[in-house]
């Protein structure tokens, strides 16, 4: 059975300028012990999707009536959309779901030492006593590669370097041994050696007790290193999803190809860096048809993609792309 099922998630925000569509008709499932990578350009709705899984979006968020999010925890199933207040979610998730937020500073209260915050949440969510909670916190700080963890335990967030702060946050999120980890850009501030170490720790926890991870990142190499499956988002929609090997080796959507193309390659330092052409449109002016069509260099004027929304078409087993069936690569 899956850990979480997200079906037809659509989220809009009420703003002074009007309604902004942040996520549109997104569906996916995650099994225990599975790692799902979520990638896509800035503003594609990754963080809003992540926050929706715990109903943590701000009050101006409107969820479409047809959307369903079902969590299957040891304590029983949870209908996330039916939760009314953020407090309900707190109670439901206990220590079973952890989220690493994209905003590192926002995750630590500035006037409380990081150790105190780690211990407090362990006391709330586990049966550990104070001494055990402290020992475990220091052990977790050590496991994410923080030197002198006992000293760091007594420091405030502002006294840590960017990467240490991010690691402390990861240590805190993993210390309750969650069943589901939602990690939003968790390694952006880490150097590559520490990043590799942190990714190993996450993979160990996946293997040890079947933690499932939704891993949001813009770094496709990190996805290649960690994820089983990947979903590529743009302007709130899933453009392509499938086994990570398939999607990276045989990208079926022009958008995925554009992302791969924009990566700086180490084997050719003279190659120019190529961004995807054009600007991300204002969220108030959503393109018709395929939302990517105005920036798609592969389309001819007058194509179907300008007016019709392409379905998610299966291009190989378990590998889907938002293209019309006649455009599946390798088709006659």
């Amino acid at each position: 059975m899956s850990l979480i099922d997200v079906k037809n998630l659509s989220v809009q925000f009420k703003t002074d300028e009007g309604l902004i569509t942040a996520v549109e008709d997104v569906s996916f499932s995650l099994a225990p012990g599975e790692v799902l990578g979520l990638v896509g350009e800035s503003g594609s709705g990754k963080s809003v999707t992540a926050k929706s899984m715990m109903k943590l979006n701000p009050p101006n968020a409107i969820y479409a009536p047809e959307c369903r999010i079902d969590l299957h925890l040891d304590s029983g199933p949870v209908d996330v959309m039916a939760l009314k207040r953020p407090r309900d979610m707190e109670i439901v998730r206990g220590g079973a779901i952890s989220m690493i937020f994209q905003e590192p500073m926002a995750s630590f209260a500035p006037a409380i030492t990081i150790g105190k915050q780690m211990v407090e949440q362990l006391l709330i969510h586990t049966d550990l006593n104070k001494k055990q909670a402290k020992d475990l916190s220091i052990e977790m700080l050590d496991r994410v590669g923080i030197l002198e963890p006992a000293t760091r335990f007594n420091q405030y967030a502002f006294e840590l370097s960017g990467g240490m702060r991010q690691r402390a946050m990861i240590a805190m999120a993993l210390s309750t041994k969650p069943k589901l980890l939602i990690a939003d850009e968790p390694t952006t501030a880490l150097d590559v050696t520490i990043q590799a170490q942190v990714l190993d720790l996450m993979k160990d926890l996946v293997a040890e007790f079947g933690m499932g991870i939704v891993f949001i990142t813009h770094d496709l190499s990190v996805v290649a290193q960690t994820a089983d499956r990947v979903a590529v988002m743009y302007l709130g929609r899933i453009m392509e999803s499938g086994p990570v090997r398939e999607v990276i080796r045989h990208p079926a959507h022009a958008y995925t190809r554009g992302l791969l193309n924009a990566l700086p390659k180490l084997d050719d330092l003279d190659a120019p860096l190529t961004p995807i052409p054009g600007d991300i449109p204002s969220p108030l002016e959503r393109p018709s048809g395929c939302v990517f069509h105005p920036r798609n260099p592969e389309l001819k004027p007058g194509s179907r993609y300008e007016t019709e929304r392409p379905p998610l078409t299966e291009v190989s087993p378990g590998h889907f792309a938002a293209i019309f069936p006649e455009d599946v690569p390798g088709q006659p």
């Binding site: 905003e103 500073m105 880490l190 050696t193 590799a196 290649a224 990276i248 961004p275 204002s282």
Partner: protein
Amino acid sequence: MTNALIKTENLSVEFPLGGGLFNKRTLKAVDNVSIEIPQGAFVGVVGESGSGKTTLGRALLNAVPITSGSASYDDGEEQFDLTKMSATDLKAYRRRAQLIFQDPYAALSPRMTVRDIIAEPLDVMGLTASREETDTRVREIAAKCRLNLEHLRRYPHAFSGGQRQRISIARALACNPRFVVADECVAALDVSIQADILNLLKSLQHDMGLTFMFISHDLSVVAHTCDFVVVMYHGKIVESAPTRELFAAPKQDYTKRLLDAIPSLDPDHRIRA
């Protein structure tokens, strides 16, 4: 040969470590660093998390007290001794040297519109004579950073992480600085905007003769943008070399370990640390 814009000798920065009143331990975040940054250079700083990269950058911007050693700035028109700065010096130096932040969330005031955020340094420093001039300047720099007019009227909370970083870059560049410390400034950006911003920073380097200290943990990015790379470990510079040389033939063990840990895009080539 171009002149050194920034020059340090045995620069150290120490922080007090907690502990008792009588047990004053300190932490040497930057430990005897000697570095020269030529005018117009794009210098990458890489290294372990906590190795002192941000602190070094902040010391060069005079945003953190220098404990010992020397540090100076000289752009041919103005000179500063960064260890002896009066309040007037500091004000003048702010126009010349700017920071692009690591954390786009902490950097932007939530109660100001994007236009005002970008305009603030211009107003504070009195660099523009009228509101019209400020507006023109804001629009110019915003366009360079791919922000449109509609964005300028909005508040930062309505932007995603990557969009916010473009705002803070525009803000840092609004006063036409000569020296920019970019601290993990593309870490929060997606690959496409990252490519775009890196191309932008490179073109600013060439068109405006800007000098960059580019702090990043992303070695592929550093390899593509920097002319020169400095590797830090435990507060010290352990290796520095022209980019190609460093990537082709790293000399120090730590540099080798760093290069070996670069994640591969090949899912069948998974590494363990």
